[in-house]
Symmetry: C2
Subunit: 136 residues, 2 copies
């Protein structure tokens, strides 16, 4: 009798939600800076694995998209991890330019101030949205 | 005529989902290691701000909880950031012990292997769940 292999396909560990989506945290591999969080469906994860560039599912536009397809700010994938519950991804990338569509390196450019109420900007803007996407 | 203040309350930037929840990425401040992702409602965020220890909302148990209330593995908050869309939090913490209930430092202890299919464990387990929570 042969033993069943203990090796599981990585996809088998993952739980997509009722909409078929899983949240993906994107982190800059070299600096550890958390850049953004976006959602993936199975197809965008497979495209991310096969191309080495991050692909997501936009819930607001109901659209498959590659990060950087308009801005040029592509993310080159270094590692894809998943959590103990299999319901969140953590993707290490090399980021070209600003990750945030507002022109900041990271989408997390604002923090709660020490008083716990006000918001303060914690990093410099690299580009304006007009410089990235052109005037509208 | 008085000018309206431009200072917004940080909470006013946030968008909780239809269930009243917002995902919170937890990162170790000193190392940059992404530790876990969990969900907060307004009450758990307020408790996090006021106590300086992370509190969440468990979707599976439908329960308010403080990280470390059973395990002792409390997270001391250093910073609370939010993203451009106001729909994700990034919380910098000082972590006591293992963040993961499976005894790993980070919940993201497994990655896709280079072949893009198999899962591989990428860090050493610090404790077994039995050591953390006692035998069941």
């Amino acid at each position: 009798m042969r033993l069943k292999t203990a090796i599981m396909n990585a996809y088998d560990h993952l739980k997509f939600n009722a909409d078929g989506l899983i949240p993906a945290i994107v982190q800059e591999a070299a600096s550890g800076r958390a850049l953004m969080m976006a959602w993936m469906n199975r197809a965008s994860l497979e495209a991310t694995v096969s191309t080495g560039k991050t692909h997501f599912w936009s819930r607001s536009r109901q659209k498959f998209w590659m990060k950087g397809e308009t801005s040029g700010h592509v993310q080159h994938v270094k590692d894809i991890a998943f959590d103990c519950d299999g319901d969140t991804l953590l993707i290490q990338v090399e980021q070209s330019g600003a990750a945030c569509h507002e022109g900041y390196r990271s989408c997390f450019f604002r923090s709660f101030a020490a008083n716990g109420a006000e918001a303060r900007v914690t990093e410099a803007r690299l580009q304006t949205p007009e410089e990235i996407y052109g005037k509208k």
